[in-house]
């Protein structure tokens, strides 16, 4: 049981059986139609980026930090721009943009309060940045969106949600709305929360509670199906609940395959 452990990471083409090792790290993620891979090397505190087509690699070294188990959130908004979260020794979170062409980074957002974390998710030409407090800390929560049509102008954030509540977060982005875990009631002294999954409409900014489990902790997006993992079961927020069906998507023909190794 090791929170620092780097796992062996491999890639395989959809429909293929040849596995290629790419490195050791945690939190692997595919970007830009599975053309790019990012993961985090916990031992050297480096975000590793690899183009799976050209196999060109990039590294982004993170600073020394107070939180030994911190893992950054990473999103690629284009083949040139990587956006990732980081925290400094005093616990202040920031969003940094890294240009893969000129290998330069720029801080595009810095939190005004310590002990919060930044979450990223991307969909349909927008990037959502959620700022949520860590457990046991009195901070508010906020969600902002950023248009990524022009990556050069990454400083215009639009706040679509802001509260003094200590929400859990764990955002999942969809084209016109997003889901996250919100704190509906909170006993500050005993640190007890009632948390539910809520849906936030991006246009109207209307908030709708979608669950009644009282202690929702996580929301995941599995190929369009939005699920709440809860005590070993999975509650479907959106998408089909067809667990009886065990049919995989058909293997695309060779013209459709993006990567042919």
């Amino acid at each position: 049981m090791n929170l620092h452990k780097n796992h062996k990471l491999s890639v395989v083409d959809y429909g293929n059986t040849v596995v290629r090792g790419v490195g050791f790290g945690r939190n692997p993620k595919l970007h830009l139609k599975d053309e790019w891979l990012t993961y985090y090397d916990t031992s050297s505190k480096v975000i590793r980026i690899e183009n799976l087509v050209t196999q060109k690699k990039y590294d982004i070294k993170l600073s020394k930090k107070a939180h030994p188990f911190f893992i950054p959130e990473v999103e690629m908004i284009s083949s040139r721009a990587v956006i990732y979260s980081d925290i400094n020794e005093n616990g202040y979170a920031a969003l940094i943009s890294y240009d893969l062409q000129n290998l330069k980074s720029a801080v595009i957002f810095k939190s005004s309060q310590s002990a919060t974390r930044l979450e990223l998710c991307q969909n349909n030409q927008y990037l959502a940045v959620g700022e949520f407090p860590y457990d046991g800390v009195n901070r508010g929560s906020k969600i902002q969106t950023l248009s990524i049509k022009e990556f050069t102008n990454l400083s215009t954030f639009t706040t679509i949600y802001s509260t003094i509540d200590q929400d859990v977060g764990n955002i999942v982005c969809l084209p016109d709305y997003l889901y996250f875990v919100k704190t509906l009631s909170f006993d500050n002294q005993l640190n007890m929360k009632i948390t539910e999954a809520v849906k936030l409409d991006l246009k109207t900014q209307k908030l709708e509670t979608k669950s009644n489990l009282k202690s929702v902790a996580q929301i995941i997006d599995m190929d369009g199906r939005i699920l709440i993992p809860f005590r070993g079961a999975f509650y479907v927020l959106e998408g089909r609940a067809n667990i009886g069906e065990d049919i995989l998507k058909s293997i695309p023909n060779k013209e459709e395959l993006q990567i042919d190794l």
Binding site: H4, P68, G136, G169, K193, P229
Partner: protein, 637 residues
């Protein structure tokens, strides 16, 4: 009043403690002719009526005493001590004039009542009781007599309560320090435990004497009592004060002030800021050292005062004890520590641990049998490694400790490996320092007296003379964990690379299959270490467990994504990061319940408050993913 003491007879049963008596009550209990009410009776307010009661009582007792003395009804002239009782009027007078707390203590037992009189805790209309008005049976008829306190002790109390004389002897100035050592000043960690402790003090035979000392010191400080012997009493009081520590003084004051109110008694422990307790020396300063940064044993009172006001000071302590950051805020840590009895007097650097099972095991083992903190070398996570390894070796499970240091024995042409853990603990042969020394002895022929020493790379300076000879294991602090450690071995100023590290310190916390159940840490704790594991699967079992075992702990493994969702995010289906945890306190507020919890990633000195819902979700999720669907939460006592 909840219950009446069982053993009380006659008029003792009729006592209603701490309430003002009306004239009607006095007349109903008295066996003498009731006095007439004073002639001038204005419309009574409460105070005015009470004043009249005091006045009536004083006059009554005075008259009674004078009458008995005049008629020669003194105890010394009597031979019989059977069927003795206090005069009802005298008893009423005691109830009217005594502290409710001391009355409650006195009502628990006849002997406590007598001792409360002897120790001047109970008062009558004259103040301290000098003479006791008693009744006795003579020729079938109940008669009254007056007994001086001295005779009361020798003739009545000594016969009926033989332990009293022993206690009197134990609370003299010379014997007091020894007696203090036999008294438990337990600090409660929960409301149920606190109420039990309060009840124990209420019924403890030593309580009247402890409170006598407390009142004696208090009276002398306030210049109370007879002015003639005030100076002498002040001197004795100062001597008595030197025998008590600050903690004991505060504790005794709390006991004696709140004998009649368990809630106020418990408030002093459970609702006082933990930082105040550190400042007063009641709690160990280790809990604030990483935040306030003082030298061990010397705590900065200004910093401690700030912790009560500035919540964020506790979030990112700068001490060398990394763990999950941010920590909870100061109020939450204080509340959690108030309800925690977990032994947390060492640092185990969970942020540096790559084997959380060993971190958790180290904590559990230290709680049940305190570990030797002085005999540790290397990183602070080596303490957990050493403790866990030695525990497994003791119960013949060291063969499952996978970490080994190996070298090639060129003479015999084979590889020789020895079990080891990085660092040094209790000079165990498996300490890496000892294993490397023995390997060098075999391969390089170093002297038996040569010891290897673990040195941080920032402290190692090859230019210095002390590093020119000897064996040094130079390690990188940030890259030295339990299962792996980036290091180099220097012997007499030259690097040595013949030692290879193989394997990892992998242990099973709970069994992952039936065949290997015997080798899991939980099995060793419950069967071999005899810590009777009780399965905890619902809230009722948690309450029952802590009610029965106030010093017990609950240990388990759950998914970190459910335990701490703000720290660990789920990205994929069935993702579960196993996280060992320990629960050792419960805080209840009406129907809300939260638990004092330390995950293996948390600093030992900064527990969190986690709800039952989160803990249950974490264990349940882990169970679903477990190969044999093992339930992984048990109480250990």
């Amino acid at each position: 009043m909840k219950t009446l003491p069982r053993f009380w007879r006659n008029q003792f049963y009729n006592i209603i403690l701490g309430t003002a008596l009306s004239g009607l009550c006095l007349s109903s209990f008295a066996q003498t002719t009731p006095l007439e009410s004073p002639k001038q009776v204005e419309y009574p307010g409460i105070i005015q009526t009470f004043e009249k009661l005091i006045q009536i009582d004083f006059e009554k007792i005075q008259k009674r005493t004078d009458l008995l003395t005049k008629n020669g009804k003194t105890f010394s002239k009597l031979s019989s001590t059977t069927n003795l009782d206090l005069e009802p009027d005298f008893l009423n007078s005691i109830i009217l004039h005594s502290d409710p707390g001391y009355l409650k203590m006195a009502s628990t037992d006849r002997c406590r009542f007598y001792e409360a009189i002897l120790t001047d805790l109970l008062k009558s209309s004259d103040g301290k009781i000098k003479n006791i008005l008693m009744t006795y049976l003579a020729d079938g008829k109940r008669e009254s007599a007056i007994i001086p306190k001295k005779d009361f002790l020798s003739k009545v109390v000594s016969e009926q309560c033989p332990e009293t004389q022993k206690n009197i002897a134990a609370f003299q100035i010379k014997t007091f320090p020894e007696t203090l050592k036999t008294i438990n000043f337990d600090i409660p960690n929960g409301i149920d435990q606190c109420k039990n402790i309060h009840f124990e003090w209420l019924t403890n035979p030593k309580t009247p004497f402890i409170c006598q000392i407390h009142e004696y010191i208090k009276e002398a400080k306030l210049n109370g009592g007879d002015p003639k012997d005030l100076q002498q009493r002040k001197t004795i009081s100062k001597i008595l004060e030197t025998k008590l520590s600050l903690t004991q003084k505060d504790y005794i004051e709390n006991v004696c002030k709140h004998l009649d109110d368990e809630n106020l008694f418990c408030d002093e422990f459970l609702n006082v800021s933990f930082w105040t307790k550190i400042a007063n020396g009641i709690e160990d300063s280790v809990y604030a050292e990483d935040i306030c940064g003082s030298n061990p044993g010397v705590m900065n009172s200004v910093c401690l005062a700030r912790l009560k006001k500035e919540q964020d000071l506790c979030l990112y302590p700068f001490g060398k004890n990394p763990g999950l950051r941010p920590q909870p805020n100061c109020d939450q840590i204080s509340l959690a520590l108030n309800y925690s009895s977990f032994k947390a007097n060492f640092r185990d650097c969970p942020g540096n641990s790559d084997q959380m099972i060993a971190t958790n095991m180290g904590r559990i083992l230290n709680h049940f049998s305190p570990i030797q903190l002085a005999q540790q070398e290397g990183t602070c996570s080596s303490l957990s490694a050493g403790v866990t390894y030695i525990f497994n070796k003791k119960f013949d499970n060291d063969e499952n400790w996978g970490l080994e240091a190996c070298y090639d024995d060129k003479i015999n042409g084979k590889e020789i490996c020895s079990k080891t853990f990085f660092g040094k603990y209790e000079n165990d042969p498996a300490s890496y320092t000892n294993v490397v020394a023995s390997i060098l002895k075999e391969t390089r022929g170093i002297d038996d007296s040569t010891k290897c020493e673990m040195v941080e790379n920032t402290d190692y300076n090859p230019i210095l003379l002390k590093f020119k000879s000897g064996c040094f294991i130079v390690f990188e602090k940030d890259n030295c964990h339990i299962s792996q450690c980036k290091h180099k071995i220097i012997l007499n100023d030259r690097p040595v690379d013949l030692v290879r590290i193989k394997g990892k310190a992998n242990l099973a916390y709970f069994p992952s299959n039936v065949m290997s159940e015997r080798f899991s840490q939980h099995y060793l704790l419950t069967r071999d270490f005899k810590k009777s594991g009780r399965q905890i699967s619902n809230l009722s079992s948690v309450h029952a467990f802590f009610k029965k075992n106030s010093k017990g702990i609950i240990h388990g493994v759950g998914c970190a994504e459910d335990l701490l969702p703000s720290f660990f995010k789920t990205y994929a289906l069935n993702q579960c990061t196993p996280m060992p945890f320990i629960v050792n306190g419960v805080i209840k507020d009406k129907d809300k319940v939260t638990f004092v919890t330390r995950t293996a990633g948390d600093s030992l000195q900064a527990p969190r408050l986690i709800s039952w819902s989160s803990i249950y979700s974490a264990v349940k999720s882990y169970q679903k993913k477990h190969p044999i669907k093992q339930w992984t939460m048990y109480g250990l006592d």
